[in-house]
């Protein structure tokens, strides 16, 4: 093969040399060839070009070989200049193509960067939205807590008011019970007083300026006697009760007789009768200092002594109950 080429080269060189004389061919290497060779090798050493446009560089190298072969074969300077120019153009094309690849690569890289920025922006936005949502959730939670606290306060307030109301209700109930008790007591007292008054009314009690005057009429005593009839004891029991109920009251007992007999005798009898009632009252538990007894005789009749009925009325003991505790009951007639 080498042998064949070299044979053919030799033949071409011989023909070329022969033709050179009448076709303007030259013997010295044209500068265009050197310049194209230098430009091609510079481009081949540039990793940007060899890396980005290897096929275009191969085309340029092929064109360069064609030019060199033409020089070796023909020595036709004009043709070799033309072919060297073609090779130079091809080198330039390789350079431009590499520039294009670099720009395209940069565009691609920038595109990835842009995608990354967009992605990060989205993530950032998502993160921001998430944080915002969290902040809103926190605010809502705090608001809920605050409302719960308020509700608890309101609830406590309501419970306190309910307790107060319960206390007030119980107090009102207690007061109502007290009032009821007082009312019942008052009622009881009223009933008792009414009863007493009714009982005392049996003694024909009458209110005078000396006080309440009762008359224990002649039925209590036998004729000419100072001792009380047994029935009188029962009749006196309302008086005893009255005096027990009202321990401040004092009483005065006045003994009276009918007109039968002498004054002195009747005076004495009257005195005895009053004393008899006084003793009975003392025996019944009434303090002695509360009771004053004296005989007034026949001088104060309440009825006619001409009839037995009248005389019966006149044989009596009158009881004067002082109106007030402080006042003496011994107001003279």
């Amino acid at each position: 093969m080498i042998k064949l080429i070299s044979c053919r080269s030799l033949m071409f060189m011989a023909i070329g040399t022969a033709l050179a004389a009448f076709s303007g061919c030259s013997a010295t290497v044209p500068s265009s060839l050197d310049r194209a060779r230098v430009n091609l090798e510079t481009a081949q050493r540039d990793p940007q070009i060899s890396g980005n446009a290897p096929l275009a560089l191969q085309d340029a190298a092929q064109a360069m070989r064609r030019a060199e072969r033409a020089w070796n074969d023909t020595r036709n300077k004009e043709e070799v200049d033309h072919l060297a120019d073609l090779a130079d153009r091809r080198t330039e094309i390789a350079r431009v193509m590499a520039e294009r690849k670099i720009a395209e690569g940069e565009t691609q890289r920038l595109g990835q960067e842009r995608d990354k920025i967009v992605m990060e922006a989205r993530q950032h936005e998502a993160e921001r939205a998430r944080r915002q949502a969290e902040a809103q959730a926190r605010v809502a939670e705090q608001e809920a807590e605050r409302q719960a606290r308020n509700a608890e306060l309101v609830s406590q307030e309501a419970r306190a008011q309910a307790r107060d109301a319960e206390v007030a209700r119980q107090q009102a109930e207690a007061r109502a019970r007290e009032a009821e008790q007082a009312r019942q007591q008052a009622e009881t007292a009223t009933v008792r007083i009414t009863q007493l008054e009714q009982q005392l009314a049996e003694f024909k009690a009458r209110q005078t300026e000396r006080g309440l005057e009762l008359t224990l009429s002649g039925v209590l005593f036998e004729f000419d006697k100072a001792t009380l009839k047994p029935g009188a004891l029962r009749n006196l029991s309302p008086l005893i009760t009255f005096l027990q109920e009202d321990p401040e009251r004092k009483i005065v007992l006045e003994g009276h007789t009918d007109s039968v007999g002498s004054d002195s005798y009747n005076m004495e009898l009257a005195q005895k009768r009053a004393e008899s009632v006084r003793n009975f009252l003392i025996q019944s538990g009434i303090a002695s200092h509360r009771i004053t007894a004296h005989g007034l005789g026949k001088g104060y009749p309440v009825a006619s002594n001409d009839t037995e009925a009248g005389r019966l009325q006149n044989r009596r003991v009158e009881i004067i109950i002082s109106n007030e505790a402080s006042r003496s009951a011994s107001i003279p007639r």
Binding site: E79, H82, I93, A103, E104, L110, R114, I117, E120, H124
Partner: protein
């Protein structure tokens, strides 16, 4: 990957031209008319005109057109060697113009992408 995106015909043009050259240049005279060279040159020029070469490589584009015109004139003058040389020159210059247009478009795309990133950064900033 877009390492040297070249159309099939482009590659075949280059290959066939180099092949024709490699066949050997027998002599300085008695050459047949280079119709193929004219056709491939025209094809390359048309391809360049379909890009933004008029904007990005106006000098090369005009040069390719002029060379092709001169090649056709040489054909008419039956100056076939000159016609082939001019057609070959028109071809590489047209291809250079086309590649310059592509490269400029690629740079512009990169610039736009860079500006977009700047805008995004400002927006995010």
């Amino acid at each position: 990957m877009m390492i040297e995106k070249r159309t099939r015909w482009q590659r075949s043009i280059t290959g066939s031209l180099v092949g024709i050259g490699a066949v050997g240049f027998v002599g300085c005279s008695s050459v047949s008319p280079p119709h193929e060279y004219i056709a491939t040159g025209e094809l390359a020029l048309r391809n360049a005109q379909m890009t933004n070469a008029s904007q990005h490589a106006p000098v090369e584009l005009r040069m390719a057109m002029e060379k092709l015109d001169k090649a056709k004139q040489a054909m008419r003058d039956k100056n076939y060697v000159t016609a082939r040389q001019l057609a070959e020159q028109a071809l590489v210059v047209a291809q250079l113009a086309e590649n310059k247009a592509h490269a400029e478009e690629a740079r512009r795309a990169a610039r736009e992408m860079r500006a977009r990133i700047e805008a995004l950064r400002r927006e995010a900033g």
